[in-house]
């Protein structure tokens, strides 16, 4: 008999939340990295008023993806290093519930950082990043690349050079999200009407990737 699906998912999320509240390892590292990255970009690109409108959505998404790389690596490496993944696999739990739980945790932590980044960038760059549609785009985009990120990080957690392999595997796979999310954000900020198409595309690929991840995760964790 297997434990009900939803209960497993919630239990894994609760476990990740509890670990995070006690250690504050993931969110604090990501937040600090995101802050540094935003500063580095503003120095490197010497953004003036006009250039900001063009570049700011790129800054947001590159920062978010690199920050999530740090988080994904830690989150899944922890699972396999301390044997928790093996314990989860021994338990009568559906594989896709494990995926959904880990994915939700990762998306939640990255989402917190993303939501904190928006007001920060509003202040630092003087652009209104708090538009409701920007927030929606941010959350959908994060959900998308955290899905494929969770799957790939589970793979790379078993490899020798996991810190170097995760970016190499994840960055090209995350490019569809980066592309559509950055275009949508830029369109919303500049009032260009085609942002809706980009947001729909982003939503579409997020759904496709999530479905594929749910289907295939079982093969990644099987021994």
């Amino acid at each position: 008999m297997t434990t009900p699906f939803l209960r497993c998912v919630l239990a894994i999320i609760a476990k990740d939340l509890r670990t995070e509240i006690r250690s504050r390892e993931l969110v604090s590292v990501m937040a600090l990295f995101a802050l540094l990255s935003v500063l580095v970009f503003s120095f490197a690109l010497e953004l003036d008023r006009a250039a900001r409108a063009e570049a700011i959505s790129g800054v947001l998404w590159v920062t978010l993806i690199f920050a999530s790389l740090l988080e994904l690596n830690r989150s899944l490496a922890q699972e396999s290093d301390q044997g928790n993944l093996d314990a989860l696999l021994l338990a009568p739990v559906s594989r896709s519930a494990i995926f959904l739980g880990k994915f939700a945790g990762n998306a939640l932590f990255t989402g917190i950082v993303g939501l904190a980044l928006l007001p920060l960038m509003t202040v630092l760059y003087g652009m209104n990043m708090l538009d409701p549609w920007v927030i929606v785009t941010t959350l959908v985009g994060i959900a998308g690349f955290c899905a494929i990120g969770t799957l790939l990080a589970t793979m790379t957690a078993h490899t020798r050079a996991r810190e170097t392999l995760l970016p190499i595997a994840l960055l090209p796979a995350a490019l569809p999200f980066l592309l559509t999310a950055a275009r949508a954000t830029k369109g919303i900020l500049n009032g260009a009407p085609e942002w809706q198409v980009w947001l729909q595309l982003l939503g579409g690929i997020t759904v496709i990737y999530l479905a594929l991840c749910l289907l295939l995760y079982g093969f990644v964790v099987e021994e």
């Binding site: 790379t156 190499i168 796979a173 569809p176 295939l216 093969f219």
Partner: protein, 243 residues
């Protein structure tokens, strides 16, 4: 006294030799058709002839990457190593073909678009596709455990195919591309389209046929045999060292 470990001789099957010859002859024949038999394009001149390689090479990559998906699915279903080797062969052949596709495209774009490269949606997605499959090879090299390696790479290979489909269909989704569509209606902004006359088709059809079927399959078969050999040698090494 260590056991005598040795590799069984494994000569090429007759069919493979025949296919290899056929592919080579077919390649020369389609080159002749494209370079000499087809008429010169009125607007673009000689450079248009690169199209007879450019488009077929993408479809060759499509076949090879398709074999990767098929190999991946069948490996996950049946756990026979052969399917995983087919998937690997598909990635290597497909990656080579898509690089040919990108390079010939860049050579064509220089005189026609007046630039080697532009961040057009289709060009971008084709480049992303190459990167994803290059990452396949990196990731594969990084995993030691064989059965884990095969599992992971099957899943990754299935995923990667999304990028191939994106490249194929993006001109129908994102209409702002400047990449021409030769067969069917070109997008509004397409630059450098030309008419697909019967002469173009006469040179294109055999080339497409060759690149879709013989080229990738023959190369993949060779690569498959190489991989089988390599794994056999690894097993032998292991046996010899553990004696």
């Amino acid at each position: 006294m260590p056991t005598q470990a040795r590799l069984e001789p494994n000569p090429q099957p007759r069919l493979l030799r025949a296919l290899t010859v056929l592919t080579a002859v077919g390649f020369l024949a389609t080159l002749y058709l494209g370079l000499f038999a087809a008429g010169t394009d009125i607007e673009q001149g000689q450079i248009q002839r690169i199209f007879y390689i450019h488009m077929p090479s993408f479809f060759g990559a499509f076949t090879a990457f398709g074999a990767t998906v098929l190999g991946g699915i069948l490996y996950l279903a049946r756990k026979q190593a052969a399917w995983d080797r087919i998937a690997l062969a598909g990635v290597e052949v497909g990656l080579a073909f898509s690089l040919i596709n990108l390079l010939t495209g860049a050579i064509w774009a220089r005189p026609i678009w007046n630039t080697w490269w532009t961040w057009d949606p289709r060009l971008t997605s084709a480049a992303v596709m190459c990167l994803i499959y290059a990452a396949y090879l990196m990731l594969r090299a990084g995993i030691d455990d064989m059965s884990r390696k095969r599992n992971f790479m099957s899943v990754y290979g299935i995923f990667s195919f999304v990028s191939v489909l994106t490249t194929l269909f993006i001109i129908r989704i994102v209409p702002e591309t400047i990449h021409p569509v030769i067969v069917g209606a070109s997008p509004q902004n397409a630059q450098g389209s030309f008419e697909a006359t019967s002469g173009v088709f006469m040179a294109l059809a055999p080339s497409m046929l060759l690149w879709l079927t013989l080229m990738p399959l023959t190369l993949m078969w060779h690569r498959y045999r190489l991989e089988t050999r390599r794994e056999a040698i690894d097993r032998l090494k292991f046996l010899t060292l553990s004696d």
